[in-house]
């Protein structure tokens, strides 16, 4: 009896372990380790980069970002014209394109997409909410001219319009699928993209297979599988165990060991991201420009990006990230100069200014907020600031910061990722963007010159002119220092050596069409 039992144990163990249980991803199927499960596969209903990484492989927009840039090129629209007043955009649509569900892509479909998002009385508006629809708030009407021509009427010239169309909120969904699935469309997506949706297993995977009829050439991969692995340590373990082929957002601490592994490739790409601390310019010590500049000189950003973030970011000079390379900026970051900081504080006539500093415990694009906060605190203390940190969970943090810092704090961490240089300064640095007016200018920065420049840059349809205007904004804001400028994130990913043709895009999106394995 005893012997029999032993034998049974051994046999079971062999059965379980003997066959190679070692995780192996299947050939020609790319497994991507994501940081979370997507909220929905309806591109108009989501806001997270994590979800966008899947969506750009299932859908196309009228336009898209040219490979490796943030410039716009044709996609579902073959060409377009812009009226002289900048208020009418006419798109000529690609013909013969079909959605994955078989229905035809045409001008009516485009109209359906934008009306669903923007019109409260649209029969499928209740399949929302559509949190980022304000990207298209300038759109007054979408008119079908003929089957392959569609016209957008804007209520004012709006320069970021094309760029916003290239953003995932502008991806085109199948009206037939929305009509069929209603509120459940987000779980039954249908687009025109290089991969078509196959399966979604809750908190396990989202799978999509090759669209062999893709208008821009069918992908080489048979399928892609997105696996949500929320715990960073587990994600790293899966990468090392071979359970995933690609992992995005590698924690800085693990990058070095991945770099030295010959079986893995580390990919990096700067993106339009800026990490900063909002300074309360309305009340307290930071109402004085000299004190704000002192803070910028006091903090050693080189140490922050090289040691805390282990080289996964570069030092920020101003509000416009260098990823917008068409904006030519000559502004250099504030150097680390504690003596100059002390001098400025003396000039301002303040001694040991007391500062309350809001620090978040996590959050989208916030990198390593707790350690960063502590390092900034230490640097500020070194030149005489008296800094008290208050830390909050991300959701709570946003609620407190977005309603304005007045009466609560002098300084708050923040980060933004965008697709156009307009977005961040327009929402966070204009006088009219104060929290009372529904903006994000939580530090109440106000400079009429900046307001005017931003207004002009937003309505100009001449890229060269816009570039000049934003360069000027960068210069003035750098000097006024309404923020503590800290870092621009360099996003990263790790792939196994077998993965070829993989690139990260400055848009933070993840295009897998040309990847092979």
């Amino acid at each position: 009896m005893k012997r029999l039992f032993h034998r049974a144990v051994v046999v079971t163990a062999l059965a379980l372990f003997g066959v190679s249980a070692a995780a192996q991803t299947p050939p020609n199927v790319l497994v991507v380790g994501q940081i979370a499960e997507p909220k929905s596969l309806d591109p108009h209903a989501v806001t997270a980069t994590n979800d966008f990484r899947i969506l750009v492989n299932l859908y196309d927009g009228l336009v898209r970002y040219k490979d490796g840039t943030l410039e716009v090129e044709p996609a579902l629209a073959e060409s377009w014209t812009i009226s002289d007043d900048g208020k009418t955009y006419t798109f000529k649509l690609r013909q013969g394109v079909r959605f994955h569900d078989g229905s035809a892509f045409n001008a009516e479909a485009v109209k359906f997409n934008f009306d669903r998002m923007l019109k409260d009385d649209h029969p499928f508006h209740d399949t929302g909410p559509f949190p980022l629809s304000f990207n298209f708030s300038a759109v007054e009407a979408v008119n079908v001219i003929d089957d392959s021509t569609v016209e957008f009427k804007l209520n004012e010239p709006f320069a970021p319009f094309l760029s916003n169309l290239a953003y995932p909120t502008g991806l085109i969904v199948s009206p037939a699928a929305v009509e069929q699935h209603g509120k459940d469309f987000g779980r039954n997506p249908s687009g025109t993209g290089p991969f078509k949706f196959a399966e979604w297993k809750s908190n396990q995977l989202v799978a999509a297979e090759r669209n062999k009829d893709y208008w821009d050439g069918a992908p080489a991969l048979e399928a892609v599988v997105f696996r949500p692995i929320t715990d960073a340590n587990t994600r790293i373990a899966e990468m090392m165990a071979g359970g995933i082929d690609i992992m995005v957002e590698v924690p800085p601490d693990n990058l070095a060991s991945f770099r030295s592994d010959a079986n893995l490739n580390v990919v990096e790409q700067a993106g339009p991201h800026v990490w900063f601390a909002i300074l309360n310019t309305k009340q307290g010590p930071f109402a004085d420009k000299l004190v704000r500049q002192a803070a910028n000189y006091a903090v050693n950003k080189e140490t922050l990006v090289n040691d805390v973030l282990q080289g996964t970011a570069t030092v920020a000079a101003g509000p416009i990230p260098p990823a917008f390379n068409w904006v030519e900026s000559y502004v250099e970051p504030y150097p680390h100069d504690p003596e100059r900081a002390k001098q400025l504080l003396a000039e301002a006539g303040v001694e040991n200014p007391k500062i309350t500093f809001y620090v978040t415990e996590g959050g989208s694009g916030m990198l390593n907020p707790v350690t960063m906060g502590a390092a900034i605190q230490a640097d500020l203390q070194a030149v005489g600031f008296d800094v008290a940190i208050e830390s909050y969970e991300w959701n709570t943090f946003l609620g407190r910061v977005n309603e304005g810092l007045e009466g609560k704090a002098d300084m708050a961490e923040m980060a933004w990722m965008t697709n156009d240089p307009d977005t961040v300064p327009y929402l966070t640095l204009r006088t009219d963007a104060s929290p009372e007016n529904g903006g994000f200018n939580s530090g109440y920065y106000s400079n009429p010159e900046v307001d005017e420049l931003l207004g002009n840059a937003r309505t100009s349809t001449d890229q060269a002119e816009r570039a000049e205007l934003y360069a000027k904004v960068q210069e003035i804001v750098h000097e006024d220092a309404p923020w503590l400028f800290v870092a621009n994130w360099v996003q990263n990913a790790v792939t196994t050596a077998a993965v070829q043709g993989f690139k990260l895009q400055p848009s933070f999106l993840l295009h897998l069409k040309d990847v092979t394995k």
Binding site: A15, L16, F17, S20, A21, A22, A23, T25, P26, V29, E37, K39, S40, A45, T47, A48, D126, G128, P129, P131, L132, F134, K183, D184, G186, R187, K201, S202, N203, Q204, L205, V225, R227, I229, T230, D231, N233, T234, A237, E238, M240, A241, G243, S364, Y392, E393, W394, N395, T396, L398, G399, N402, E403, M414, A415, W416, P435, G438, G439, F440
Partner: protein, 315 residues
């Protein structure tokens, strides 16, 4: 007995009702709201208001609660804000995964715990007892998420014997063997602490029983020692251990919250963590109700089992 079970089952409802009120209140009291969670950095008051209107969160709290409870009584648990999906679909799908994990781990910890406890008591102060006592102490003291990570590092990364995370292989899996392979690490991790607790209690209960008169009588009558221990003493000791196993079922369900996160197990624990951080109040409600109901049922089952084993309680 049926009347007793019916009474206990009926008492579940007030518990669940009270719980739903508490969860609702707590969720609305903690700072942050679903709209901010959905919008992230784009949460302007205007956008927040628009989303709140779309989600029906602009109504007074009491009204929101009564709308919810009214719908629940008709079997409609509402839609998750964050996932835009019926709460019931999500909860049931995720709860199955948790039941598999918690169930297997409960069996595992009961078997190991009882066995270790008995051996430990029978060989009191022997080397087996010392070894087990040490192992139990180590098991109880170890933070399980840490143990989970160490097991992943050893079995998945270093030796490549078992998958690191998930419930099924991505391709070609889906059968029982695949499930078992994925279950080993999380179930073992989850079982460690509970096994330790059960072992300790079993040891104490056995030691007490072994000193009682009926055991001595059995031995005096010449009943074989093995039979004395397993037929007589163990059965008596089990009476005081069973309720503890019922309570451990609660711990196993609770522990699943972080073990599921570490092992990316698609269960209800990981779902709740996510739902709380996105202030997805209806999903939290649905999840908590299911977990609470199953906890109460586990305990009820333990009580019934105990009654069956010990006629004195039935009286």
């Amino acid at each position: 007995m049926p009347a007793y079970v019916a009474k206990r089952l009926l008492s579940v409802f007030p518990v669940l009702f009270g719980l739903s009120v508490v969860v609702f209140l707590v969720m609305s009291m903690i700072p942050g709201d679903p709209a901010t969670a959905i919008l992230g950095a784009y949460a302007t008051p205007e956008n927040v208001e628009r989303i709140n209107r779309d989600l029906g969160l602009d109504k007074p709290l009491v009204q929101q609660y009564f709308i919810w409870i009214g719908n629940v009584l008709q079997g409609d648990f509402g839609r998750s804000f964050a996932l835009n999906r019926p709460v019931l679909d999500e909860v049931l799908e995720r709860f199955q995964a948790t039941l598999v994990l918690a169930g297997v781990s409960l069996i595992l910890c009961s078997v190991i715990g009882l066995l270790a406890g008995v051996v430990s008591a029978v060989r009191q102060f022997g080397w087996a007892d010392k070894l087990i006592t040490f192992a139990v102490l180590a098991g109880i003291s170890m933070p399980s998420f840490w143990l989970g990570l160490i097991l992943i590092l050893l079995f998945a990364v270093k030796w490549r014997l078992l998958p690191a995370s998930g419930m099924y292989a991505i391709y070609g899996g889906g059968d029982l063997k695949d499930l078992l392979l994925h279950l080993i690490l999380p179930a073992a991790t989850l079982a460690v602490v509970a096994a330790g607790v059960i072992a300790r209690l079993t040891r104490a209960a056995m030691l007490e029983v072994l000193r009682q008169d009926f055991v001595r009588t059995a031995r005096a009558k010449g009943v074989p020692e093995r039979q004395v221990i397993y037929r007589h003493a163990f059965r008596a000791a089990l009476v005081s251990v069973i309720p503890v196993i019922g309570i451990q079922a609660g711990f196993v369900l609770g522990g699943a919250v972080y073990i599921e996160t570490v092992f990316q197990w698609p269960g209800i624990g990981a779902m709740l963590v996510n739902a709380i951080s996105t202030r997805d109040i209806l999903l939290v409600q649905g999840g908590v109700l299911v977990v609470a109901a199953s906890y109460v049922l586990f305990n009820l089952a333990a009580d019934i089992l105990q009654t069956m084993l010990d006629p004195r309680i039935r009286a």
